[in-house]
């Protein structure tokens, strides 16, 4: 059964999903540079992970958008192919710019600062992999009335 969410609700869930992912990444870096942190930091991290998982399930899985962006083209009709093609084109451009910007920031900071304050960590890469998969789906969910 496909869950139908209003455009407003979808947008709200997408914002929550990205926000919780962003907070998690910030926390990972925070933990990396600070050894003795209070228990609340772990709690916030776990809470953000739960928020990310829940919003992911509701906005991408239950609405069927995940299937739309991860299906073979033979399983989609011509409108769905057009829709996913547009979303994939936009997300490819956005993702490339984001990744190259991260690499540029990393390279610049590495040159300028004596201490290595910004390193590319495993959680950042995992976050980017997740982001690359949800980006086309979130472009569809953000813009279209129905899909």
């Amino acid at each position: 059964m496909v869950l139908e969410l209003s455009k407003k609700m979808r947008r709200l869930l997408i914002i929550c999903n990205y926000f919780s992912l962003f907070i998690m990444e910030i926390l990972f870096y925070f933990v990396l540079f600070n050894d003795d942190l209070p228990f609340i930091v772990d709690f916030i991290g776990i809470f953000m992970l739960i928020i990310t998982c829940l919003t992911f399930i509701f906005v991408y899985i239950k609405t069927g958008i995940w299937t739309l962006t991860h299906s073979k083209t033979e399983k989609l009709d011509e409108r769905q192919i057009e829709l996913t093609h547009k979303a994939l084109t936009k997300s490819y451009a956005l993702f490339a710019v984001l990744c190259l910007s991260i690499m540029l920031i990393h390279a610049t900071l590495y040159r300028l600062l004596p201490e290595n304050v910004f390193i590319i960590t495993v959680p950042l890469v995992v976050g980017l992999i997740y982001f690359s998969h949800i980006l086309p789906a979130s472009i569809i969910a953000w813009g279209d009335e129905k899909f």
């Binding site: 989609l76 009709d77 011509e78 409108r79 769905q80 129905k146 899909f147």
Partner: protein, 83 residues
């Protein structure tokens, strides 16, 4: 390049035949939401899909699709019989 808007009679034809969007979608091989998009004239079908729709309703393609806003089917038939 953005194409012209195409008008159609899919909603009328579907209701005449007491079909749900899902049923029509299965017959013409598309997702049921695509039928909604077609009926609201928010999506222009490909030539192949337009032919599939015309074959399913057993009507000439120009009776279903037009680049001009659709007139009532009875008036269209009257105009055709006069010609």
């Amino acid at each position: 390049m953005k194409g012209r808007k195409l008008y159609n009679r899919i909603a009328v034809l579907r209701r005449e035949r007491n079909l749900s969007r899902k049923m029509l979608a299965e017959k013409i091989g598309v997702n049921f939401q695509t039928v909604g998009y077609l009926e609201r004239e928010e999506y222009n079908p490909s030539l192949d899909l337009a032919f599939r729709i015309s074959e399913y309703f057993d009507l000439p393609i120009d009776m279903i699709f037009s680049t001009q806003p659709m007139v009532m089917m009875s008036l269209e038939l009257l105009k055709r019989s006069e010609n």
